[in-house]
C-alpha cells in the first residue's frame, strides 16, 4: 500500500505551485512508495481549503502538506486531521503552530525581507521613494516579509517606503494599483512586489506608462513569468527560491515524519533528500535555503524550468 501525501496549495493554476508539484512528484519517484494528491481550492480562500482538507481527511490520506491561505482559520480543520492520525505540515505560507507539526519556510523571512530591499537599493545609489505592492491584505507570508523589510530599512540610507498597496493577487487590481502609485508618487523610483502575480502586473503597468528606466520593479517572481519584463527593462532583478525544491522538500519532510524517521520538535533536524537537512526553531519552523536572484544574465536559462 502506497503512502498518500496531499500537497495542498493556495489555489490551483498558479505557476509557482505547479512547479512545486513537479518537485513533489520528483520526491515521490525517488521514494517509490508514495502517491501525491495535488489539490487546492479554485480561489485563494480559507473556506475553500477547509473543504479540501475535509475531503482529504475522509480519504484517510497519510500526510497533508499545505500552503495556507489563512494562518489561523485553518487551524481547527487541521487539528481535526491530526486527531485522526494524519501528519500535517505547512510550507511556503504557514499555519499557526497548534495547527501543524512543523512549518517549512522557503527561506528565512529575514533574508527575504532584506533581499527585497537590497534589490531595490542596489539600483538606487542616491536613495529614493519606494512603494510596496502586496497580495491580499491577509496573506501571512507577505505581511511577515513586509515587516522584515521595514526592520532592515535603516541599513539602507535614503530608501524611503512611501506606502503599501494591495493587488489581491489579481492582475487587474495590481495593475490599477500600480497606475495609482505612478500617479500619486511622481518621485517613485522602485516598486517592491513580494508576490509573483503582483510583480508581473506592476512591471506591465510600468511599461505601459512609459516609465521604464524611471521606475524599477522588483520583488519575488517566477523566471518564466518575468523573463519578458527583464528583457523590456522594467525589472532589473528579482528573487525567488526554487519552487521545485520547495515541493520536493515538503514531500520529503512529510514522508520522514509520517514514517516516524524524524520527529517535529524544537531543535530537531529533518532530512530533505537532496536538499540536505532543515533545523527547526522554537516555533517548529525551519528555512529551506537562501533566495536566489535573477537578472538579465540568468533569467532566460531558468525561464525554461519554472
Amino acid at each position: 500500500e502506497n503512502k498518500k501525501i496531499a500537497l495542498v496549495v493556495k489555489a490551483l493554476g498558479i505557476g509557482f505551485f505547479d512547479a512545486a508539484n513537479k518537485g513533489a512528484q520528483e520526491a515521490a519517484k525517488e521514494l517509490g512508495d508514495v502517491d501525491i494528491i495535488y489539490t487546492g481550492p479554485t480561489d485563494t480562500t480559507a473556506e475553500g481549503q477547509i473543504e479540501v482538507i475535509n475531503s482529504l481527511i475522509a480519504q484517510k490520506v497519510d500526510a497533508i502538506a499545505i500552503s495556507a491561505n489563512d494562518r489561523d482559520a485553518l487551524v481547527p480543520a487541521l487539528k481535526k486531521a491530526m486527531d485522526r492520525g494524519i501528519t500535517v505540515i505547512s510550507w511556503d505560507s504557514g499555519v499557526a503552530p497548534e495547527g501543524r507539526a512543523m512549518h517549512l519556510n522557503p527561506s528565512s523571512n529575514a533574508l527575504i525581507g532584506n533581499m527585497c530591499v537590497k534589490m531595490a537599493a542596489d539600483n538606487l545609489p542616491e536613495g529614493g521613494d519606494v512603494a510596496i505592492l502586496s497580495a491580499t491584505a491577509t496573506a501571512t507570508n507577505q505581511n511577515t516579509w513586509i515587516e522584515e523589510m521595514k526592520k532592515v530599512l535603516p541599513n539602507y540610507k535614503g530608501i524611503n517606503i512611501v506606502t503599501t498597496v494591495y493587488g489581491d493577487d489579481k492582475t487587474d487590481k495590481s495593475y490599477t494599483e500600480t497606475q495609482g502609485l505612478i500617479k500619486a508618487y511622481p518621485n517613485l523610483k522602485a516598486i517592491i512586489a513580494p508576490t509573483s502575480v503582483g510583480v508581473v502586473a506592476a512591471a506591465q503597468a510600468v511599461e505601459d506608462a512609459g516609465m521604464v528606466g524611471k521606475i524599477n520593479v522588483t520583488g519575488l517572481g517566477l523566471p518564466s513569468e518575468m523573463a519578458g519584463h527583464v528583457k523590456a527593462g522594467s525589472s532589473k532583478s528579482f528573487a525567488i527560491w526554487n519552487p521545485i525544491d520547495l515541493g520536493y522538500s515538503a514531500t520529503m519532510i512529510s514522508y520522514n515524519l509520517l514514517t516516524g524517521k524524524a520527529k517535529a520538535e524544537a531543535g530537531a533536524e529533518i532530512g530533505m533528500g537532496r536538499m540536505g537537512n532543515v533545523k527547526l526553531d522554537d516555533n517548529r519552523e525551519g528555512a529551506m535555503a537562501d533566495p536566489f536572484v535573477y537578472d538579465a544574465k540568468n533569467v532566460e536559462e531558468f525561464a525554461k524550468i519554472f
Binding site: 480561489d43 473543504e51 475522509a58 489563512d70 494591495y166
Partner: protein
C-alpha cells in the same frame, strides 16, 4: 323579481388528491435527484459511506443553507438580498472587536446576531423605506458592509476566540451530529412552520404574487418585507457565529462568494426567482444535494471549479427539464 337562480350548489374544497400533488411536485424530483447522487457517490468512492465522513460533509453546506432558508422567504416575497456574505463578514468582524474588548462566548453570539439584524434592517429600510429595488440596493450594501469590515480590520485578523466559543462551529451535540447540523435542522423546521403554517407565511406568498393586490387587501407590505430583510440579516448573523467559530478567526475576506451559493440553493430548491412560489423542503433538499455533490466530487479530488460546473449544469437542467417535458406533453396532446 329574482331572475338569478340561487343554486345551493356547493363548491368542493379540493379537486386533486394529496398523493397526486406530492408525486408531481418539485420536491419529489429533488428527492429523486438526491437519492441518485447518494447512490452514485457510494459507488464512486469507498470513503463515502462512513458516518464521520458524512458528518464532515455537512459542514460544506450548513452555514450557506441557514442563510438560504431566510433568503428563500425574501425571494418568495419578490425581493433579493445579495449582501448576505458581506453581512457575515461584518458580523464576524464586530464579534472579533467585541472579543478584544473582553466579551465572553455568549456576548460574542449576541454581538454577531445583533450585527446581522442591524445590517438586515438597513437593507430593509433602503428597500421599503426609500422604495429602492433590492437587487441594486444589496449590490451596494454588499460592497459597503464588506468595506466596513476592511476598514475595521485592514490587514489584521482577530484570533484567539475562547474554546467555549469554538463549540458553535466545531462541537458535536451527539455522536456524529454536529451543533451546526442540529441547528440547521431546527431552523429549517422553524422556517417550515413560519412559511407554511402561519399567517405570516401566507402574507409572504401574497406579496410575492401581487404586491399591489396584497396592499389593497390590507397586508402591511412594507412591514412584512422589512421583517424578512431583518430575518435574513439575522440568519447571516447566525451563519457568521458558526463560521467564525469553525474558523477560529476573522478576516475581512471571510465568506466571499457565499451569496451566490446560497441563491443557487434557493433556486435549485424550486423557489421562483420572480417570487410567489416555492417551499422550505425544496431548499433543504437542494442544500443537501449541493453538499453531496461537492463532497462526492471532493473525495475524487475533482478541483472546485469543476464541481461548480456540475452545480451550474444541475441548476440549468433541473429547471429546464420540467419545462421541456411540459412542452413535449402539450405537443403530444395537440398533435
Amino acid at each position: 323579481m329574482n331572475t338569478i337562480e340561487h343554486t345551493t350548489r356547493t363548491i368542493p374544497d379540493r379537486l386533486k388528491g394529496g398523493a397526486e400533488r406530492i408525486l408531481k411536485s418539485w420536491e419529489s424530483l429533488l428527492f429523486a435527484v438526491m437519492v441518485a447522487i447518494f447512490i452514485v457517490n457510494s459507488f464512486a468512492s469507498p470513503y463515502f459511506l462512513d458516518p464521520w465522513n458524512l458528518s464532515d460533509a455537512t459542514f460544506n453546506f450548513t452555514e450557506k443553507a441557514i442563510v438560504a432558508l431566510a433568503l428563500a422567504l425574501v425571494i418568495i416575497s419578490g425581493e433579493i438580498d445579495l449582501s448576505v456574505a458581506s453581512i457575515i463578514a461584518i458580523s464576524s468582524t464586530l464579534m472579533g472587536a467585541a472579543l478584544k474588548l473582553g466579551a465572553g462566548p455568549y456576548e460574542l453570539v449576541a454581538v454577531g446576531l445583533a450585527t446581522g439584524a442591524v445590517c438586515g434592517a438597513i437593507n430593509g429600510w433602503l428597500v421599503t423605506g426609500l422604495g429602492l429595488p433590492s437587487i441594486v440596493v444589496t449590490i451596494g450594501t454588499m460592497s459597503l458592509f464588506r468595506g466596513l469590515a476592511y476598514i475595521v480590520l485592514g490587514d489584521k485578523a482577530y484570533t484567539g476566540y475562547p474554546s467555549e466559543f469554538s463549540w458553535f462551529g466545531q462541537g458535536y451535540v451527539w455522536w456524529v451530529f454536529s451543533f451546526e447540523l442540529v441547528l440547521f435542522v431546527a431552523l429549517a423546521f422553524l422556517f417550515y412552520i413560519l412559511l407554511h403554517r402561519t399567517s405570516f407565511g401566507r402574507l409572504v406568498y401574497s406579496i410575492g404574487n401581487n404586491q399591489t393586490a396584497a396592499l389593497f387587501s390590507g397586508v402591511r407590505v412594507a412591514r412584512v418585507k422589512f421583517i424578512l430583510f431583518v430575518l435574513t440579516g439575522l440568519m447571516a448573523g447566525v451563519a457568521a457565529v458558526c463560521l467564525t467559530s469553525r474558523l477560529g478567526s476573522t478576516r475581512p475576506s471571510i465568506a466571499t462568494g457565499l451569496e451566490l451559493e446560497a441563491i443557487t440553493m434557493v433556486v435549485l430548491g424550486g423557489i421562483n426567482i420572480n417570487g410567489g412560489s416555492g417551499s422550505i423542503l425544496g431548499v433543504v433538499l437542494a442544500a443537501v444535494i449541493m453538499g453531496l455533490v461537492t463532497f462526492g466530487l471532493g473525495l475524487l479530488n475533482v478541483p472546485g471549479i469543476v464541481m461548480s460546473i456540475f452545480i451550474g449544469l444541475l441548476l440549468i437542467l433541473v429547471i429546464a427539464i420540467p419545462v421541456v417535458l411540459r412542452k413535449i406533453s402539450w405537443q403530444r396532446k395537440a398533435g
